[in-house]
Amino acid sequence: MLISLNWLREYVDLPETVEELCERLTLLGLEIEKITRPGEGIDKVIIGQVLSVEPHPNADKLSVCRTDVGAGEPLQIVCGATNMKPGDKVPTALVGATLPGGFEIGRRKMRGVESAGMMCSARELGLGEDHMGLLILPEDAPIGQDIRTYLGLDDTILEIEVTPNRGDWASMIGVARELAAWFGREFRVPRAVPGEGSQPVQALTSVTIEDPEGCPRYIARVIEGVKVGPSPDWMARRLTAAGMRPINNVVDVTNYVLMETGHPLHAFDYDRLAENRIVVRRARSGEQITTLDGERRNLTPDMLVIADARCPQAVAGIMGGADSEVTENSTRILLESAVFQPSLIRRTAKNLGLVTEAAQHFQQGADWNMAEYAINRAADLILQLAGGTLAAGLWDAAPNPPAPVSVRLRHDRVASFLGVEMPVDAQRKTLELLGFTPEAQDDCSTTFRVPSWRVHDVSMETDLLEELARFYGYDRLPETLPPVRANAMVFAPYDEPQEKVRRFLADRGLTEVFNWTFSSPALVERAGLPESFAQLVRLSNPLTENHVGMRTSLIPGLLSVAERNARRGAPGLAVFELGPVFHLPAGGEVTPDTLPDEPPALAVLLGGSTPQHWNIPARNYDLYDLKGIVESLAAWLRVDLRFRPVENPWPLFVPGQAAELLLRDQVVGRAGQVSGRVIRAFDLPFDCCVAELDLRAIFDVPSDLPQFQELPAFPPSTRDLAVLVDRSLPAGDLLEAVREKGGAILRDAKIFDVYTGKQVAPDRKSVAISLVFQSPERTLTDADTQQAFDRIVKHLERKFQATLR
């Protein structure tokens, strides 16, 4: 909402500076979005009258004017515009004047003719885009007056944001009332006692409310003999400042009063209403209305309309109908001031896609009493601006006057809830200032009647406490640190372990990414995941077709990250993501009782080249890098994670280079080399490998508390063993066989080299194993180790046709 300070001053005296005002409004809870000063930059521009217009002797497109500025000799001004004639009043910038944008006016010669100033277009004054000619002012504009004063440009406009609980603030009177209370200044409400004619309103119209719940109050007044025409400048200016377009004096008055009081009004052309009467009812199926914006709209029975004897003439509380619009030809008008049910207005506005100023006000709840003031104020203004005779009395159909709202305040709650001592007197006084009336009191409490403009917001003791806090000043309330007593329950068992994993992986040189958690079946398919992963928790209102549901795996997101970074020139990447994946509940249907399963997951992607270094040759990441990361993570988490190769993996993986990750025989993840199909689908210029782990499954396995093992007291003895074996023999099998025959004294066996190449037959490989023998009881002799060594070699020869190198 836009608040003109010039207008606001009519109701309350404002503080000296705009800054002080804005700070106070902010601290009272009214957010200032923007401050504009329309006249900013304009100086020494006054109203002049063109006396003569002569052609310029040396230029076809210029003329030489003499302009009276009210003081001294008329000025000679060279002008490029053509729309002025002698007698016109125009804004005239004197020598030394400035215009918006810092433009300064000097005395100068234009094509040999002296020019002592400039006559201005609307655009030159910063008043819009019109620069086709000079801004011609009305005939009665006073010569010599500062244009800022005349056009109301000496104003400051605040754009304020009203929170939904304070609909009463969306008006001049609402803001002024609050300021008057805070500053202890007089609150000036314009008198609204219009002079009435002799004919009673009951003789001219009637109001029937068929839906008293949707419309608890409807007031009508009728004015006869009005002369519809343009509004006077002061009103047009104020409406413009408030962001509204002036239309005609009657419509403008309703808008003016809306801005002033926050209560929406409507004016009907009385003579266009069938039987000149009003019926407030639900729309009938199939009924239509053409609203003021020219749109033909279909109405439904859940919408409230203002009808005449035959058909709807307005969508209640939202917009009037074109049929009964007040026009230049209207002479009799019916004014409406009503109270509508906020939820009904909200629903209808939403269904019609028609969120008008009026609808917004009604949605926040109308002020029952203001309805009457507003219609009287409007009637008074119309009589002043458009003349006519006001029928005597109101037609006030108020079948449901609301029960008054009273709230009890226990005075000790201020200290125990707000944390500040506030004398009882001060509490009462503050609330009274804000319009709350004490109704009853005892030793420890006072019961207050809530003012009509606050009944939508204040209904409980805490609401009163909020008022006291607000008016005491949030900034003045003390600051204390409470004892923080948490109970022993655990609400996020995976939080700390997940955080450890995050730090571990970052410390290993990986970069964490954070993707949106949306996905789509197409993306799942593109990433080569099996069909079951396309069973998404679906959204009914997704943003785009790429975001139709929730992700079931982190892998597609990581592939997309690789894609994006490769496209931007990254030669390689090592990334991971932590976060939930979403699985449909058993039965497949998400309901409030069966929400999706959201286990925390981890995925790692390595792709392209390792970082460049002057001394470490760059190479491509491969599956051993990935396996190493997963292994070291498992070791660090102290879980026994195993890799089981998968013969026919998902399309995501290269066959033979994919494995399931097993923890206690349960599959808790997968790892592998990304297949060419998926590499191409993501347009990747390099190979990648990925792994994904179900962190919940891993965290849920209790890790054993390590138990101390006595340190060996006797020295170890080391032997190296190199054997030639079949090329496809897994090294792990070899190691297992070594351990099997090594006996009690074999403490460790590690592969330290695997060789294939020239010195080895093409179907063979050389595997070198370092053996560590040690006994807890004695120093081993050469004979001991040799015996074990021979036993191992013999076993390998027999089992794998190995030959010692």
């Binding site: 601290l27 809870g29 929170t163 609980n165 939820s343 909200r346 629903r347 809830f417 707000l418 944390g419 500040v420 409980m460 805490t462 609401d463 909020e466 806090a469 949030y474 900034d475 309330l477 600051e479 204390t480 640190l481 409470p482 004892p483 923080v484 007593r485 948490a486 109970n487 329950m489 609400f491 996020a492 995976y494 955080e499 992986l505 970052a506 290993r508 040189g509 990986l510 970069t511 964490e512 990414v513 954070f514 993707n515 949106w516 958690t517 949306f518 009914s540 943003l543 975001h547 929730m550 931007r568 090592a574 990334v575 939930p580 998400v590 309901t591 409030p592 929400l595 959201e598 270094h613």
Partner: protein, 340 residues
């Protein structure tokens, strides 16, 4: 006889010391040692002559021989150490260590800015005694709205604002439902912070449909608005610096009463105007837990009171690091991620 051998010994000492001093190669020094003191060396040769001496003369000559041997041995050792040192210096002069070249290490990895910021914030509250709580991203309308005193026709529930899985099930629009889940499971005192992803149907230069919030809740006997102010001011001073100025403004949220927004006075480079600019920046929303919320979870409003707050982690990260577009946070461009 004695004088002859003594003379030879003295002569050997003189020559030997000279030769040692002149030697500048460790290997030559070693052969010198052999030729002077070795089993077949000159000293041994001279000492053969002892046999011809009388038993009275021998000890005297033996003493001299020992002195010569010690003198030569220690001279050789000294020279050896000298040469080793010289060699070290020479080698060092030949090698050039370049301090400007990067050392060998793992590539620098990092946690994501959102995760890190969230953790830092959570850790400030954990240090005060708050516990971490999680709740689901796919949430019921009851937890996300109803229990938080949000009327059924509230505009925030509109499908223009909230993602729906089906009627009654939404992507949570705030981390506040975690408050309800926690209070349903336990009795006061409660002190939790709940970090998590939240979702709103909004995607433009300043909005991301998914973003990250942290919720906080403290419920106990006699918790006051002053406690709320104190706790959050403490957080700001811990996280943004001990001198950071804080401002509380009245605001409105359905689930707190009184409600407030907290601003901090923040100085940052002014991208448009140049120089530094100081202004109030909205940091979080907070308030005293609304009695209707307590009612929803079955807490006795007369017995307990509490406060709640919620802040956007994205916003905090953006403010602290001068990030101008929220999109950067979720695009995962390594050139962005590696800056933090």
């Amino acid at each position: 006889m004695t004088t002859e051998i003594t003379g030879k010994l003295n002569e050997l000492e003189r020559r030997g010391l000279e030769a040692v001093a002149a030697c500048d190669d460790p290997r030559q020094l070693e052969s010198l040692r052999v030729s002077l003191l070795g089993r077949k060396g000159e000293l041994t040769e001279i000492l053969r002559g002892l046999a011809s001496l009388s038993p009275e003369e021998r000890p005297e000559v033996g003493k001299i021989a020992n002195r010569v041997k010690e003198a030569l041995t220690s001279a050789i050792d000294r020279r050896k150490a000298e040469l080793a040192e010289l060699e070290e210096v020479r080698r060092a002069q030949q090698t050039f260590f370049d301090w400007t070249l990067p050392g060998r290490s793992l590539p620098p990895g990092r946690t994501h800015l959102i995760a890190r910021t969230a953790r830092e914030v959570v850790d400030v509250f954990r240090a005060m005694g708050f516990k971490v709580a999680w709740g689901p991203d796919v949430e019921t309308e009851y937890y996300n709205f109803d229990a938080l005193n949000t009327p059924s026709d509230h505009p925030a529930r509109d499908s223009h604002d909230t993602f729906y899985v089906r009627p009654g099930v939404v992507l949570r629009t705030q981390t506040s439902p975690v408050q309800i889940r926690v209070m349903e499971r336990t009795q006061p005192p409660v002190a939790i912070v709940a970090p998590g992803r939240v979702y709103r149907v909004d995607w433009d230069a300043t909005h991301s449909p998914m973003f990250f919030q942290i919720e906080g809740l403290l419920v106990d006997r006699d918790v006051t608005f002053a406690d709320l102010k104190g706790t959050l001011t403490h957080f700001v001073r811990e996280y943004f610096g001990p001198k950071t100025q804080v401002r509380f403004r009245p605001h409105f949220f359905p689930f707190t009463e009184p409600s407030a927004e907290m601003d901090i006075l923040w100085t940052a480079p002014d991208r448009e105007g140049g120089g530094m600019k100081t202004r109030w920046l909205e940091m979080l929303g907070c308030g005293m837990v609304h009695p209707k919320v307590f009612e929803a979870v079955g807490y006795d409003y007369q017995k307990y009171s509490g406060f709640a707050f919620g802040m956007g982690v994205d916003r905090i990260a953006m403010v602290r690091h001068g990030i101008n577009a929220i999109a950067h946070l979720y695009e995962n461009d390594l050139r962005f991620l590696e800056q933090f």
